[in-house]
């Protein structure tokens, strides 16, 4: 694990792969629930890193030392929730994705709808979840677009790397867009406001 500072009160720790990040995240959340990381304000997992944001320098130094000594959790807890998201597979990049994977568009849709996905972590924007295939198979692994779009429509469903995800609201974005969903991914009046929370299983179903 490699530690890198983010100012005087935060740091990221770099790990080898996403599975390690999620196991460390689970261990950190467990320690927090036991009251062992009191000065830690935010924990942000990402594809290869875990960010710890603390109340100040001392809390960071103490927290980082404690996290560095944690054993990675054996399993990553599932939330027990399951969500189905309806998608109209009309994305601008559907054909490009098919070509990148040397298959046809129908096969891209089939793989997307037949895979059981799981929310690995959230971030980027409220309601945005990074989904990976539950069995670790990465059936639709493609690079991001070479250039990000300045505007991706709200509800756009996309692919990047090992992930799939949907944009809760219009924003800039570099993912390969394969479809659109009407499902509300972020609703401040709902509890929790995010539909996709870490550990939730997700299936996509095609609507026309």
């Amino acid at each position: 694990m490699r530690w890198l500072p983010c100012g005087d009160a935060a740091a990221i720790v770099e790990l080898d792969d996403l599975a390690q990040v999620l196991r460390l995240h689970a261990a950190v959340e467990s320690a927090r629930s036991e009251g062992r990381l009191e000065g830690v304000v935010d924990v942000v997992p990402a594809a290869r890193t875990l960010l710890l944001r603390c109340t100040g320098r001392e809390a960071l130094e103490h927290g980082a030392a404690l996290v560095d000594a944690l054993h990675l959790a054996d399993d990553v807890p599932l939330s027990g929730q399951e969500v189905t998201i309806s998608v109209r597979y009309d994305g601008d990049d559907l054909d490009d994705v098919a070509e990148l994977l040397s298959v046809d568009a129908a096969e891209v849709v089939r793989r997307h709808t037949e895979t059981v996905w799981r929310v690995a972590f959230t971030g980027f924007a409220p309601g945005f979840g990074y989904l990976v295939s539950d069995d670790g198979s990465a059936p639709l692994e493609v690079a991001r677009r070479p250039e990000a779009r300045t505007t991706v429509p709200a509800g756009a469903v996309g692919l990047a790397g090992e992930f799939t995800g949907a944009y809760p609201r219009s924003s800039p974005g570099g993912w390969q867009l394969i479809g659109t969903t009407e499902t509300r991914l972020w609703d401040v009046d709902r509890d929790p406001p995010a539909l996709l929370t870490p550990g939730t299983r997700v299936r996509f179903e095609e609507v026309r």
Binding site: L4, P5, G7, D8, A10, R48, L51, L60, G123, G127
Partner: protein, 296 residues
């Protein structure tokens, strides 16, 4: 119950409290007043709970009409308050200002700096999302003040107003602001010349706001090993200086994107973030690297 009617929202006025820390894992930034100490002080001057929601003014200009009497105080960038009823009285920052029922309260532009915080005795009774009334411009949580909005003031607290002539306030400078930074996490992506240029003045661009301050200056070049490389998105914090593909830095503020897809070359230390909140477009800013925390 007193309410305040917005006759003019000024350049940009938002409801802020101390933010909603702890939800970054869901993609929600901490948000909150860009100078928490100034917000706390304004609330204390009006004898109100320090964390109560107040208004964050950008470049003044706010005009309110009081439906019921109230007491306000302003901290941060110095502005003149004018209370008009049958006559007009002017006040400065740092002290409790009575606003009678039916009076108009008008805030002028700051004589230095950019942002001021206006607290009302009793606090503002504003809707909370994830435990905070703060407006987050990037996430679209709550919205900036608009003409016609009505703000509800909370009931007056039990304690008396503190007897205080005026709290001493520091005046923001219009010289080049020096912000202390810790280099990293991705400073190794850049050339030595690029890192040295962080110490030189950068100009604050007009297109800056609570999400981040855009800076103009010489493009920061990546070293040969990292040229053209993609960075898997990683968590970012307020104070992060992210370098876009065009080499220009953006200094993240409280409504920043929670993950950064471009390398962050350095992060401003917590104590200097309120200085950044006062940087006016056209002003210059430079970064001074300091020793970072002890990490494993």
């Amino acid at each position: 119950m007193t309410s305040l009617h917005v006759l003019s929202p000024g350049t940009l006025t938002t409801v802020q409290d101390l933010g909603r820390a702890g939800h970054a894992g869901l993609g929600v930034a901490p948000s909150g007043a860009l100078d928490p100490a100034s917000l706390r002080l304004a609330n204390r001057i009006v004898g109100t709970h320090e964390e109560a929601p107040a208004l964050e003014l950008t470049f003044g200009g706010l005009v309110l009409s009081a439906d019921g009497p109230c007491v306000v105080a302003v901290t941060g960038a110095p502005v003149t308050l004018t209370v008009s009823n049958e006559d007009a009285r002017t006040y400065g920052c740092g002290s409790a200002v009575p606003v009678p029922n039916g009076a108009e309260l008008s805030i002028g532009p700051p004589s230095g700096g950019l942002r001021s915080w206006l607290a009302v005795r009793g606090g503002l009774d504003a809707p909370e999302v994830l435990g905070s009334a703060s407006t987050d411009l990037l996430a679209g949580i709550n919205a900036p003040l608009a003409e016609g909005d009505v703000l509800t003031v909370g009931p007056p607290p039990g304690e008396a107003l503190p007897s205080l002539d005026g709290a001493p306030l520091s005046v923001p400078s219009d010289d080049c602001l020096t912000l202390r930074v810790v280099l990293g996490p991705r400073h190794t992506w850049f050339t030595d010349d690029a890192l040295a240029s962080l110490r030189e003045p950068w100009t604050v661009d007009q297109r800056s706001n609570r999400v981040g301050i855009r800076l103009d200056g010489p493009a920061l070049e990546r070293d040969a090993e990292h040229d053209g490389r993609e960075l898997p998105s990683e968590g970012a914090v307020a104070g992060a200086v992210q370098v876009a593909s065009n080499g220009l830095p953006v200094l993240f503020l409280a409504d920043h994107p929670v993950t950064a897809g471009y390398p962050v070359v350095a992060c401003v230390v917590t104590e200097d973030l309120p200085l950044a909140a006062q940087a006016v477009p056209g002003q210059t800013v430079r970064f001074r690297p300091v020793e970072g925390p002890q990490l494993p």
